[in-house]
């Protein structure tokens, strides 16, 4: 009985963590990007082209979210001229990390190729 309860608690806490990171991404990223003509998938591919591996992509993105300037953006000049540079994020480091984990999991190439 105790074992079952413990299992249930663990499952629920894991699921809620997953939900919360997905939630951060949905609420703070997808909402704004809806307005833009370039999809999050295409932007992800741009980051992947420039930064390569998972750690690098996440680090690059985190830095840009915290200190967004034109010079380090991976987007084209035409895009930036039309839509400008995003505002500096107000999310905490933990929230950024959660959102980036979610973003990576959603669009990563690994395990998708056939």
């Amino acid at each position: 009985m105790v074992k079952t309860i413990l299992m249930a608690v663990l499952l629920i806490s894991g699921f809620s963590t997953h939900l919360s990171s997905a939630d951060t991404y949905e609420r703070h990223c997808v909402e704004c990007h809806k307005e833009l003509p370039t999809s999050l998938q295409r932007m992800f591919m741009r980051y992947l082209l420039v930064y390569g591996g998972e750690e690098n992509v996440k680090a690059g993105l985190k830095h840009y979210l915290k200190y967004p300037i034109k010079e380090i953006s991976v987007m084209s000049d035409l895009f930036i001229d039309n839509y400008g540079i995003k505002k500096k994020t107000r999310l905490s480091d933990r929230q950024i990390d959660e959102a980036l984990d979610s973003y990576w999991e959603r669009f990563k190439v690994i395990d998708k190729l056939k």
Partner: protein
């Protein structure tokens, strides 16, 4: 060769990079990894995490540019732009081993040509460097040839006249003087015979005959007795009956040289020993001997170990030539200060 394989693999890597570029731009509408029947490939990101792989041997050596494992050749290509996140593109082809055969063929082919070239070049250089030495030997040979011609007549005249002289009516003082002339003339005669043999006679055809060696030794010992007496040497002859089939002229040169050396390099009041058995002749002396290092060079031409005695250093080289010609063997045993034993076997 492996460099040809490298060029081919680099070409494949270029083709695959182009395909990855296209796939990158159309991801994730297209998710089929580009395949090619000519090669297999794999892609890894900069953290060395596999993105996708078709290759058989997945123990990738990222520190190498090209390597061979399990009969497969692998090329590791680093991309500048990370299509699909790819930092390392690995191209794998079967290693048929044909390039190794090609390498061996080239090594043997070019190696043989180079070896031949260097050998000929070395031969040319050796000839060039040895030319002065060869020239001086030729000059010496020519000089000996020319002078020996002129020595024959006066030498024969001296020896014949000494033999004809009636020593019974001679005063003791003149007898001694005549004896000295006789010794000097015989020494020159042996030298003359060696030189004429070397320069003129050795090319002549052999007239082999059965020779009574004991008789010949008695004859030659008698001939040299005047030389032996001058050094107060005594003969110790132990001669058994023995014969040999050989050119008399040549065998006389062998005996003459061995006996005259035994006398020449002996100490005063020493002994010259001659032992003759069937198939073996030993001529020994109680003279100055030689050190062990000199023995291997004793038969070399123009080699002399003692400048106190006259001669050109050709005697034993003539002996060796004749001994080899008749498939006989000659052995030298010598101890410095004790004497020398020359053992001739046939």
């Amino acid at each position: 060769m492996l460099s040809d394989q490298r060029a081919m693999l680099t070409k494949y890597a270029y083709i695959q990079t182009k395909r990855l570029k296209v796939l990158h731009h159309f991801f994730d509408e297209r998710i089929d990894y580009p395949r090619d029947p000519r090669f297999k490939s794999a892609i890894y990101d900069m953290e060395l995490i596999k993105i996708f792989s078709l290759i058989k041997d997945e123990n990738i050596r990222f520190d190498k540019e090209i390597y061979i494992t399990n009969s497969h050749i692998h090329l590791v290509k680093t991309l500048d732009e990370f299509y699909l996140g790819t930092k390392y593109l690995i191209i794998e082809v079967e290693d048929s081993g044909a390039w190794r055969g090609e390498i061996w063929k080239n090594i043997i082919g070019y190696g043989s040509v180079a070896f031949l070239f260097f050998m000929l070049f070395g031969l040319y250089l050796a000839k060039l460097f040895l030319k002065p030495m060869r020239d001086s030997i030729l000059l010496l040979d020519r000089f000996i040839k020319d002078t020996t011609h002129e020595l024959n007549t006066p030498l024969s005249a001296i020896l014949a006249n000494i033999e004809m002289m009636d020593t019974d009516v001679m005063v003791e003082k003149n007898k001694t003087k005549l004896s000295r002339i006789n010794i000097a003339a015989k020494t020159v005669s042996v030298l003359y015979k060696d030189l004429t043999y070397l320069t003129l006679e050795q090319e002549k055809t052999n007239h082999d005959e059965v020779i009574d060696i004991r008789e010949l030794i008695y004859d030659r010992a008698e001939y040299f007795s005047i030389l032996a007496q001058s050094k107060h040497l005594e003969y110790n002859l132990e001669l058994e009956e023995s014969t040999i089939k050989i050119d008399r002229r040549k065998f006389t040169r062998v005996i003459d040289n061995l006996i005259s050396n035994a006398i020449k390099y002996n100490k005063r009041h020493g002994t010259v020993g001659i032992e003759l058995k069937q198939g073996m002749l030993v001529i020994w002396d109680t003279g100055i001997g030689m050190n062990e290092e000199s023995i291997p060079f004793v038969f070399d031409r123009y080699i002399r170990f003692n400048n106190a005695e006259g001669g050109f250093g050709v005697g034993l080289s003539i002996v060796k030539k004749i001994v080899d010609e008749y498939h006989m063997s000659i052995e030298v045993k010598s101890k410095e200060g004790k004497g020398t034993r020359m053992v001739l076997k046939w």
